[in-house]
């Protein structure tokens, strides 16, 4: 937990704030230089631009520009049948595609009123938590890279390869998973997949502990991150922060607990919260969430119920291939579903899941047609990034870069 006395001293934060206020008072100094950070700066990972007004190394003002990879998800979604939107969601937060897939599927299931069997729900939970781990892995290790410690990144990247192995065994792809179907999973967990998950649960804690050992209590890293890019809980709420970034400020809002979906209520886990909302707290919260995710996976893996891996909903869920080849009825359903002519009811639903980055919401308006009438994504990155200016002003250039990595703003999700 981030709130225990292990966190760095509060006076360091106070020092940082005093310092910042002091420097901002000198803002009348007209000798500012303009520095164009991005859109191809190495630390912007994805692509966004920041035009910084600098006084020496201190950032006085920042004007963010986004939209460099705007891909018109929402417009495309209005032109595609429901099941073809899953590949689109893959490409939003590509660090944790399964969460996006599942979130979207759950939204449509909510619209269609399908009940999902327990086994499918548990499989989903395992996959979503694996995705969360891989998301946090990237975020925290990239934080290390941006602060100059490259090696830890490669250590945890090896573990991410193992997560990808599991994905591959479940859905046949590594990154853009297109995992699951409306109404469940597309196939059951194979014995190999189960074996891989078991292996992962055994091996990963050691690697993660090692990674933590390399960075967490290293004073250089602490100095670099404590007090950097801090935001208060009030401002964070005003900016609609969710997820780890909100929890780092001390607000224990987590969709998995507040609105449990996919039987998250069955599992025991804690929500780590920070205190100061700075980069170090975000890092700690993510670290701890990885441990909690492991706990959830372990529980789901141990208690994986027997049963079907998909809902019994022939109107929406593709019949098994073997039946398609043989039975006429299945073939008709098959054609209808593939052509996108499922009888979606009129209505509107909002469903949100706890994405790797925060509350990932899907607002779906259906007019009964074969495509959504309107599908709006509540993209947490879009929300975080607008607070970025406020978080970096008064800090140094190096702070701005660490703040960006610790916010885990992913361009694909930001620009939609």
């Amino acid at each position: 937990m981030a709130t225990d006395n292990k966190t760095a001293d509060t006076d360091q934060l106070q020092e940082f704030r005093d310092n910042r206020d002091l420097k901002l008072q000198d803002k009348k100094n007209e000798n500012l230089t303009t520095l164009n950070l991005g859109p191809t700066h190495p630390a912007t990972h994805g692509i966004f631009q920041n035009i910084l007004q600098m006084d020496g190394e201190v950032i006085m003002d920042a004007v963010p520009t986004i939209g460099y990879i705007h891909r018109a998800f929402e417009k495309i979604a209005e032109r595609r049948p429901f099941y073809q939107i899953t590949p689109l969601t893959d490409r939003m937060n590509y660090c944790s595609s399964p969460i996006n897939n599942m979130g979207y599927h759950m939204t449509v299931e909510k619209l269609l009123g399908i009940e999902i069997p327990k086994r499918a729900q548990y499989i989903r939970v395992i996959m979503m938590e694996l995705a969360r781990i891989s998301d946090h892995l990237i975020c925290n290790s990239i934080l290390g890279v941006d602060s100059g410690a490259f090696t830890g990144f490669l250590y945890v990247m090896q573990e991410r390869e193992h997560i990808y192995d599991i994905y591959e065994e479940v859905c046949g792809a590594r990154l853009t998973t297109n995992m699951g179907r409306i109404g469940g999973m597309e196939r059951d967990l194979s014995p190999k997949a189960l074996h891989l998950i078991g292996e992962f649960l055994k091996r990963f804690p050691k690697v993660w502990a090692e990674f933590e050992k390399m960075l967490t209590r290293n004073r250089i890293f602490i100095d670099r991150t404590v007090g950097v890019g801090a935001i208060t809980a009030e401002r964070a709420l005003s900016y609609s922060f969710t997820g780890p970034n909100l929890r780092a400020t001390g607000v224990d809002y987590d969709v998995r607990v507040m609105n449990p979906y996919s039987s998250y209520g069955d599992f025991e886990f804690e929500i780590p919260v920070g205190a100061k909302g700075d980069t170090y707290d975000r890092y700690l919260v993510r670290n701890e969430e990885v441990w909690q995710s492991l706990k959830i996976i372990e529980q789901a893996y141990k208690n994986l119920p027997e049963g079907s891996y998909h809902a019994d909903a022939p109107h929406y869920y593709l019949p098994p291939k073997q039946e398609v080849y043989t039975s006429m009825e299945a073939l008709i359903y098959h054609f209808k579903i593939v052509m996108g002519e499922i009888d979606a009811p009129k209505g509107e639903v909002y469903h949100s899941v706890e994405g790797g980055n925060g509350e990932l919401g899907f607002y779906l308006v259906s007019d009964g047609g074969r495509t959504p009438y309107r599908l709006h994504f509540r993209r947490p990155c879009f929300i975080y990034y607008q607070a970025y200016t406020e978080m970096i002003v008064g800090g140094q250039l190096a702070d701005a870069i660490l703040t960006l990595s610790s916010l885990n703003v992913i361009a694909g999700e930001l620009d939609a």
Binding site: I69, Q158, E161
Partner: protein
């Protein structure tokens, strides 16, 4: 150490006449080999494919085996521009600018469906392939390509580099190609 290397194809020595202490080859080939084994990439990663490039840099695939592990984020120092991910229309001019800033010899690899053709994003805001703005040497399909495929693309560039004339950038064909893209 030695067992690590047992199954590895060395960069082949250039063809030449080898005799006792005598090894003649055309100078260009040597330089071509040098270039091929020292391709510093500029990872222009905008989205998903960038994550797979991270995996390519990672321990499992290890792009450094090809001498390409030094990512040069400064275009001046890079040899290949790896465009990975969706290039929106807003981004197009930036890609072109980066390409213009690169020093010769330069190669461009379009990695992934989005960079090569726009892929799934056939929408008003996405450039349908970066060969609209810069000349592309190698296309790598996939969405995203596996790291193996990215390495494949890199090896294609190595083949190009090995067999290319030193004076490529002075050739009229090359000038015409650049002119067709409106690059000075």
């Amino acid at each position: 150490m030695s067992d690590l290397n047992k199954d590895i194809n060395m960069a082949e020595a250039p063809e030449g006449h080898s005799g006792a202490g005598f090894f003649a080859t055309s100078f260009e080939k040597v330089i071509g080999l040098a270039r091929a084994n020292s391709l510093w990439p500029l990872p222009f990663a905008t989205s998903c494919c960038g994550i797979e490039f991270m995996a390519t840099m990672g321990a499992t695939y290890d792009i450094s085996r090809f001498g390409s592990e030094r990512p040069s984020f400064s275009p001046r120092q890079a040899d290949i521009l790896l465009v990975m991910g969706t290039i929106a229309k807003k981004m197009g001019p930036v890609v072109k600018q980066v390409y213009e800033q690169m020093a010769e010899p330069r190669w461009v690899v379009a990695v992934g469906a989005c960079a090569t053709s726009g892929g799934i994003f056939d929408s008003y805001s996405v450039l349908q392939g970066i060969d609209r703005v810069v000349p592309v040497d190698v296309y790598v399909p996939g969405c995203p390509p596996r790291p193996e495929q990215i390495l494949d693309g890199l090896m294609r560039v190595q083949d190009l580099a090995k067999n290319e004339s030193l004076r490529r950038r002075n050739s009229p064909e090359y000038q015409a190609l650049l002119a067709s893209y409106n690059i000075k």
